[in-house]
Symmetry: C2
Amino acid sequence: MSAVIPAIETLTTQLGKLPGVGRKTAQRYAYHLLGLEEEDALELAEAIRGARAVVRPCPVCGAYTDADLCVYCADPTRQSGLICVVSDPKDVLAMEKTREFRGCYHVLFGSLSPMDGVGAEDLAIPQLLARCRAGGVSEIILATNSDAKGDVTAAYLAGQIKPLGIACTRIARGIPIGGNLEYTDEITLAQALEGRKPL
Amino acid sequence: MSAVIPAIETLTTQLGKLPGVGRKTAQRYAYHLLGLEEEDALELAEAIRGARAVVRPCPVCGAYTDADLCVYCADPTRQSGLICVVSDPKDVLAMEKTREFRGCYHVLFGSLSPMDGVGAEDLAIPQLLARCRAGGVSEIILATNSDAKGDVTAAYLAGQIKPLGIACTRIARGIPIGGNLEYTDEITLAQALEGRKPL
């Protein structure tokens, strides 16, 4: 009855695998790509191939790079002994946007999740501990997400790193800037209260 | 300062050209594609190439097809003399979902927009009028969008088609099913009132 064109169906299915994209949005993207000049549509295909061909995780920290080392590990002006641990390569970008951090990174590529069978060996945790044991590390800043998995991951890492005599901190939780007390959930508010600072 | 990797930047830019996708969403898509297994990411690139290679507008009506004619024009059980005019190929899908329409289609590939310099010759309007003049057409159903450009387009087409002695109708405007009177804008409500039907 309804006219399914396999090539459009395949394209819609593939676009629907992008994060947060449902079938309707995927269809909208697919028809948009079909409506473009062919060379414009193929630019996206080429961009995917191009990125996959040259971008890889930095062998030291896991941040994406198109060179041997990422720009953070390769930068001699950054403090290599101060390591910010994040779950995902895109979290590095978020940290960089602050323009506050002048240390290096370590990307875990996920969070611990015993329920889903994700253990330390499934993440870049052994590599992080190896960096810590190799010496020269003064502080590990845990910047995992502020959710259950991020909490479990941070607690696990603190338990492994502190015995090595390395300072281990976690980025603060509290009310976001511009946040309204009335609309702040009680868990965030409790954390903000607990983390209060003298003025 | 911030580490721009050209291949990721290109990918983000290309993804940002998808409709309704801003830079932040494009970046999310890009990092998602980088985080997949390479073959899974390349499936999307291949799906774009594949769709662009085989999908083309039907030479008669403009609906997308991977064959010589689209499934609607090729279907002998559909009424070829009843033509539903839509602005965009994806509107054909929307009409088909109703499972009510058993005629054929004509895709305009846009709407008239004198302000933007889009005239009849820039759309598939000459082709529509040629189909009308070729004979055998009993009714043209105008299903252009219910906005200013859709209104202009419908009015223009009615002016061209009615003198040919062909019935010309426009799909009804009114309160959508499930619509709440309180939240219906006054223009829609005025159209609904004007289009009232005896019970």
